[in-house]
Amino acid sequence: MNTLKWTYEVDGSDFTRAGEASSAVKKNLRKLGVPPEAIRKVSIALYEGEINMVIHANGGVITVEMTPEKIDMVLADTGKGIPDIEQAMKEGWSTAPDEVRSLGFGAGMGLPNMKKYSDEMKIDSTVGVGTTVYMTVYLQ
């Protein structure tokens, strides 16, 4: 099987559309017959990442690549960056504004959850330049 690749622009101005890319990926993986547990891991990790992009970084680009062995996800934004990644990874730590919390997010579980549901995760971030999150879920 060849490598399959999908790219999605995430609109950072509209919270109601956050999750559309993750939902489309989930649908594609289902059609391709990917095992349900892998679909679940990819969907949740990607959805959390997509929500983060909208809340914190005014959107960005999501790229998903699938091979027979694994699914690689890259979430790149040009937002304000994460000054202290170690602190941002702590459960319950959040910089989300109150209006985000009133929408049901911003509990400081996004990044820890992305780490939990992916098999590998790496964050590159530069303050004032942006953040790129790399996540992988293995299929075998």
């Binding site: 109601t16 993750s22 959805y47 049901g104 997010f105 579980m109 959850n113």
Partner: protein
């Protein structure tokens, strides 16, 4: 119990998903915080919430849930209903408050997940 039983126990009104009322469910969770649903929920088929926005439906979809129950008489909007219908999800509305709704379902056999600290140790 099935989704029809949830309707009966909670004296709930059906909003959408009438084709899936026979689906069997065993576990549920109640939360207004979607972050926590994504973090702690595993294999819960029913979401009880008082939060009303499209991300409630997306969260339930990502978690492969089959039914959303809006407590305190909360009403989803047309976009939420349309998305739930596309995903084959049932939406119900009850006038019960969250605590009472969860209690009634527990009393009738639905269960929740483990404790949060147990879940974090759990293999996915």
């Amino acid at each position: 119990m099935n989704v029809q039983d949830i309707m009966r126990v909670l004296d709930a009104e059906l909003i959408c998903g009438e084709d899936n009322l026979d689906v069997e469910v065993h576990n549920a969770c109640g939360s207004d915080m979607m972050s926590d649903v994504l973090a702690y929920v595993k294999d819960q088929a029913v979401l009880l919430t008082g939060l009303v926005n499209i991300q409630v439906v997306r969260t339930a979809d990502m978690m492969d849930m089959v039914c959303i129950v809006f407590v305190r008489g909360k009403e989803p909007d047309a976009d939420m209903i349309a998305l739930a219908e596309r995903r084959g999800m049932v939406m119900l509305k009850t006038q019960h408050r969250m605590f009472t709704a969860c209690g009634l379902l527990w009393e009738n056999g639905l269960r929740g997940g483990g404790k949060a600290n147990e879940h974090l140790k759990m293999d996915l």
